[in-house]
């Protein structure tokens, strides 16, 4: 391998409201930092190529695929992962809506779906069905045919209001 000069860095950021410091390589994938260093294994790897969205998290208010973010670019950011949706032991309305509508089947796409939906509702609290479909188009699901996921997001939008 080339010069092998990759020095580790101390990375500081805030995840789900908690400030953390992680020692890691600057080119490490944020996905691996979350899963392996911070044991936040709710964020999933379905492809490692940006295609499936199972690794999606919200970084400084924007949806990103954590498999494509080098750790150094997460320095100083605010991150939200699926573990940070429920608060005080209570599920968020979006999560409740996924339960009610059967939006999760095998569940492996669910964390990414939830983060994309969460981010959408932050930007646009009352999206049309088309807007939901567009926002979730980068999140692949092989189980549901999407109908119940889209329905869950619509329900959360209706019921959640500002509680999201």
């Amino acid at each position: 391998m080339s010069d092998g000069s990759g020095q580790q860095i101390d990375l500081h950021f805030v995840v789900n409201g908690q400030a953390v410091t992680v020692r890691c390589h600057p080119m490490a994938r944020l996905l691996d930092v979350l899963r392996e260093e911070l044991h936040l294994t709710g964020t999933k790897e379905g492809c490692g190529e940006g295609e499936c969205g199972a690794c999606a998290v919200v970084m400084d208010g924007e949806l990103v695929n954590s498999c494509l973010v080098p750790a150094a670019q997460a320095a100083g950011v605010q991150l939200r992962t699926v573990e940070g949706l429920a608060a005080g032991g209570r599920l968020a309305p979006l999560q409740e809506a996924f339960l009610h509508c059967n939006g999760a089947q095998c569940g492996i796409c669910t964390p990414g779906m939830l983060m994309a939906a969460f981010c959408l509702l932050q930007h646009n609290p009352h999206p049309s069905e088309e807007a939901v479909r567009v926002a979730l188009a980068g999140n692949l699901c092989r189980c549901t045919g999407y109908a119940k996921i889209v329905a869950a997001v619509a329900r959360a939008a209706q019921e959640g209001g500002d509680a999201l």
Partner: protein, 743 residues
């Protein structure tokens, strides 16, 4: 309040929406190291030597080859022809040859690149035609893994006397399961304690059987535990045995250190199974009035390099090849051939989607030739109660196909839309069409399969007054946990909150068979119903349960029983429904205990500028016996239709020298939210007395009907017949330009 028939929310969903659910990639054991696989370079050859290259501290790395296998080098399943690690020869690209393990994954990757296989390539067999020509023989004496013949009446005579004979040839491609969670396993194995594996899988007892043979261990020292499984669709039916074996061999050699193997997406696509590609030829004889008088069907599937489940896939495909129609003269020849490609395995529908695609596509071609609307041709030939299917099985279900068809035509606005499209298609570059398909799907294992399996389930009452449902049926997203708890609760007459459905672990659950063949709810569910009734009976007989009773009474009775007499347990074992006979040798008889029936309609839009076909709306009408959980059931139908839309229009495996060239999600195209149309789901319920609370199978049904309905709609839109899936824009363009060249 009975739970069966109500939309009880999925039991394990809270863990899935909070990220707490533990999938194999999330599972770790102290001291765990990682394993990787070195694979064959081409489709077929001899392995001369394995060389370990320079610059790697090999003494630190656990290296396993076929020589390290303590027992037999096979992945035990049906024929036991597939090695766990290739030894002298390899028979497909990406076949496992060497395994490596180490704690440092970066080093492991460098090491993988430094394992050099000196090989002597041999000429490969790569297509169905090559296999049938048998110039190179790679399997048995003629490359034919298995063949079946269904015969009734005199086909040749009927064809001679028919008013019209229509021929056609239909092809389907391989399909990747593309569960979003790739395959993976963790193993701990030592000669002293035996083997334990944890992983993503559908069939714990298949994995156990394979490991027992590989390590020469008894069942009590071979333990298989399922973890949360991120989708299966058949893709985690047989391949997990392979990965479990690999992880266990590494752990065994490394002295019992836990070893984890999780494939990345590319490795999963390259190495694991696919849906069998197929080719079907039809010759159909009709009377002038559209009555079918002869069906001559030649059905061939490509099984890949080893036989895995091909013979079972073939038998289901062969039996379904004549569809839900009555015809006195039928001949179906089914063959599974071997090629030097990665073995094909189970995939939702299990051979039926392939043969039903051919039939339902062909019948539209036949209808045109006969000058009949496609729905009319079908209506005139539907099988009715009391009549016999091609295998001789008398239909006993309360099915009413003409009514299903009527409903489908009505809900889809068939006639009105057809007329509208006929008008609109005169202008512009968009063409629209409607297509339908009528089909059936047999519930449970084919033929005597269920009797051989003799599945067992157990229910256990606990000291806390709860009831545990013990089966080896896995939750893979389809809703096993929830449905089992609904069934158990209703059969016991209690609330769902006292029912537990623990995750399958071969050390703790009986063998209730594999989680396949749409059998979980109907067949295993029925066993749960039976066991529940017997558990309740035990409590009644002991006088512990008042009548009527509340859930609280029941809990108290359970607790009292356990206190007074020890374990409270009831089991049930599969018994075939009365009057069911299957003759495996003649391949005739009652192929399934019951069938589910359906009529699907697709509306398709084709853009003449890009030749892209898109499904705009989809209607499903099905009779599946009792629907245990309408929300979960609809989810199965929607998900199955989406997967079938993928197969029909998008999912093309690009083979190069027997290897999947488009082995990335970027290049293997499955539908997104923007590609799946509104899918309407209607259930008709005709309860089946031998299924749980009347349920029949429904998980695979939605895979069968969409592809032919969609291609029939393309035919309707363009007037051009496309006879293969996936009907990618390139395929549609080629078909249109052939047509242009003719005029």
């Amino acid at each position: 309040m009975p739970l069966v028939g109500t939309p009880v929310p999925r039991l394990e969903a809270p863990d899935k929406v909070t990220g707490a659910a533990c999938y194999v990639d999330d599972f770790a054991l102290p001291g765990m190291i990682y394993g990787v696989t070195v694979r064959s370079p081409g489709p077929r050859g001899r392995i001369r030597r394995i060389r370990l290259g320079d610059g790697i501290p090999w003494e630190e790395i656990t290296v396993v080859t076929a020589r390290d296998i303590p027992g037999d080098n096979v992945v035990a399943l049906i024929n036991d022809d597939q090695p766990c690690l290739a030894a002298e020869v390899y028979n497909h690209a990406e076949e496992a040859v060497v395994l490596l393990a180490h704690r440092d994954r970066a080093l492991l990757e460098r090491a993988r690149r430094q394992v050099h296989l000196d090989v002597e390539p041999l000429p490969p067999v790569l297509t169905i035609d090559d296999a049938l020509a048998a110039r190179e023989v790679i399997w048995g004496t003629d490359n034919i893994i298995k063949s079946y013949l269904v015969e009734q009446g005199d086909v040749e005579a009927a064809l001679r006397e028919a008013d019209l004979v229509v021929q056609g040839e239909y092809e389907t491609g391989a399909q990747e399961h593309l569960y979003i969670e790739p395959n993976g396993m963790v193993a701990v194995a030592t000669p002293e304690d035996g083997v334990t594996v944890w992983g993503s899988l559908q069939c714990p007892y298949y994995v156990q059987k394979a490991l027992m043979r590989l390590f020469r261990l008894p069942p009590e020292r071979t333990r298989v535990v399922q973890l949360e499984t991120g989708g299966g669709f058949g893709g985690k039916e047989d391949y997990p045995s392979m990965i479990a074996a690999h992880a266990a061999l590494l752990s065994w050699k490394a002295g019992g250190v836990p070893v984890k193997i999780v494939y990345d997406r590319t490795e999963d696509m390259l190495a694991t199974t696919k849906r069998h590609p197929s080719r079907t030829r039809h010759r159909t004889g009709l009377r002038r009035d559209g009555t079918l008088v002869a069906l001559d069907i030649d059905f061939v599937i490509d099984g890949g390099a080893y036989s895995t489940l091909s013979q079972v896939v073939l038998s289901r495909g062969t039996i379904h090849a004549a569809g839900p129609y009555r015809c006195d003269n039928v001949r179906i020849r089914g063959r599974a051939v071997a090629t030097n490609t990665p073995p094909r395995g189970a995939f939702r529908g299990f051979g039926a989607p392939q043969s039903l695609f051919a039939l339902e596509r062909h019948l539209d071609v036949v209808a045109r030739a006969a000058g009949l609307p496609p729905e009319e041709l079908r209506r005139r030939n539907f099988i009715r109660r009391g009549e016999r299917l091609a295998v001789g099985q008398q239909v006993r279900d309360g099915v009413d196909l003409p009514a299903l068809l009527e409903r489908a035509l009505q809900v889809s606005g068939w006639t009105e839309r057809k007329n509208r499209f006929r008008q609109e298609n005169q202008r512009g570059t968009i063409r629209r069409g409607l297509g339908l398909s009528c089909f059936l799907h047999g519930t449970g294992f084919t033929g005597s399969g269920e009797s051989h399996l003799a599945s067992t389930v157990a229910l256990e009452g606990t000291a806390e007054g709860r009831v545990r449902v013990l089966t080896s049926s896995t939750e893979i997203g389809q809703g096993t946990n929830t449905i089992f708890s609904q069934i158990a609760a209703d059969a016991l007459g209690v609330g769902g909150e006292i029912i537990e459905v623990p995750r399958p672990d071969t050390a703790a659950v009986p063998d209730s068979g594999p989680t396949v063949a749409s059998r979980t709810c109907t067949i295993v569910g029925k066993l749960i119903e039976t066991a529940a009734l017997s558990l309740r009976q035990q409590l009644l007989e002991e006088g512990l349960l008042p009548l009527p009773y509340t859930t609280g009474d029941f809990q108290a009775a359970c607790a009292a029983y356990v206190r007074q007499r020890g374990a409270l347990r009831a089991t049930a074992r599969y018994q075939p429904p009365p009057g069911i006979h299957w003759d495996e040798v003649r391949f005739r008889g009652d192929a399934y205990g019951a069938y589910s029936w359906a009529v699907y309609v697709a509306q398709v839009r084709v853009d003449l500028c890009t030749y892209q076909a898109q499904v705009e709306e989809f209607w499903t009408v099905q009779e599946v016996g009792r629907v245990v959980n309408p929300t979960l059931a609809a989810g199965q139908i929607e998900g199955g239709v989406a997967q079938a839309i993928g197969w029909a229009l998008y999912e093309h495996v690009a083979w190069q020298e027997g290897r999947m060239a488009n082995c990335r999600m970027t290049d293997y195209i499955i539908p997104t939210t923007m590609d799946i149309p509104p899918i309407h789901v209607w259930f008709e319920e005709a309860p089946y007395p031998y299924g749980a609370f009347g349920a029949k199978g429904l998980g695979e049904l939605p895979m069968d009907g969409p592809a032919p309905a969609i291609l029939n709609a393309i035919h309707d839109a363009l007037g051009v017949s496309i006879c293969r899936v996936p009907a990618t824009p390139e395929v549609i363009y080629d078909a249109l330009s052939r047509e242009e060249a003719l005029v």
